[in-house]
Amino acid sequence: MKNTLAISAVIFTVGFVTIPVVWSDDDDHWEGMEEYKHQSTGVAAVTNTVYREECGSCHMAYSPGLLPANSWMKMMSGLENHFGDNAELDAGTEKSITDLLLANSADRSDYRRARKFSRSIQLNDTPLRISETPYFRHEHDEIPNRMVTGNPEVKSFSHCNACHTRAEQGSFNEHDIRIPGYGRWDD
């Protein structure tokens, strides 16, 4: 009886300790000590109409909080070859969009998830693709290629809203994930 109790206690304790580890998101190594105004799992949603029109016509209007200021500066200085497409803007529009991107960039955002993007990037690195940032890669490292690059309805990790149904609202919560042809994704 005593043995049974002891074994039960061990099982209970081990279970208690290990289960949270197994199920945790394991992205805490980019967590800072700061307090954020927005503790949620989101980034700021894009509401600016000029930005939505100019940047959201061809692709999802990515939240400025997904890349740091240096990356946005580099991106905006090369719009004539924007990932193989021409995205030139007139000087006035380019300036207003650059200002918006810099003011809300990952390293200046007060959204917790935006700061994780920022913190994952080396100081001397200037990634242009959100999908190449260490935080992004870490968050997607368990997803098989057949669900994304091999999935004709998704095609690329650049198409956030193909699976993150509320990406345009700035939410990347796991409960909102629906992978076309596969359904929900539980980490």
């Binding site: 990932f83 497409d85 021409n86 007139d90 095609k155 650049s158 198409h159």
Partner: protein, 134 residues
């Protein structure tokens, strides 16, 4: 030299007015293309240019307007790279189309450069415009 130029503008204007008098945005753009060297407007030529494929380096080696917009102007298109839906081009089913000069010029610039590897000439723009409008 000035006299023949004026006559030419008047001739084109007459033609435009008879076809497109109800649309000031398009009239005004066509006038500006005429001033930059467009000699006549031809919707069939616009259609030919719209469907023609142009060779390109890198991703998507055969490009055309229809790559994203499809060959049917009343149908919705899809960005060939990002999959983002594109509203139909025909004003008959999308009343927002061809109503904003600045926007038209912006997309001519971007999309001619991607598709043809250069900016469109005034003549090509005039032909595209009447093809899309009709």
């Amino acid at each position: 030299m000035k006299a023949p130029y004026l006559i030419f503008v008047v001739l084109v204007s007459t033609h435009i007015n008879s076809v497109l008098a109800d649309n000031t945005t398009i009239n005004s753009l066509l006038q500006s293309y005429a001033a930059k060297g467009a000699t006549e407007v031809n919707a069939e030529q616009g259609q030919y240019l719209w469907q023609k494929t142009y060779p390109a380096n890198g991703e998507f080696s055969q490009r055309s307007c229809a790559s994203c917009h499809t060959e049917k102007l009343t149908a919705p298109g899809k960005h060939v790279k990002t999959n983002k839906p594109i509203e139909p081009m025909a004003p008959s089913v999308n009343s927002q189309r061809l109503t904003d000069q600045k926007k038209i010029e912006k997309w001519f610039k971007r999309n001619c450069k991607w598709t043809m590897g250069r900016e469109c000439t005034a003549q090509e723009k005039a032909d595209f415009l009447v093809y899309l409008y009709k």
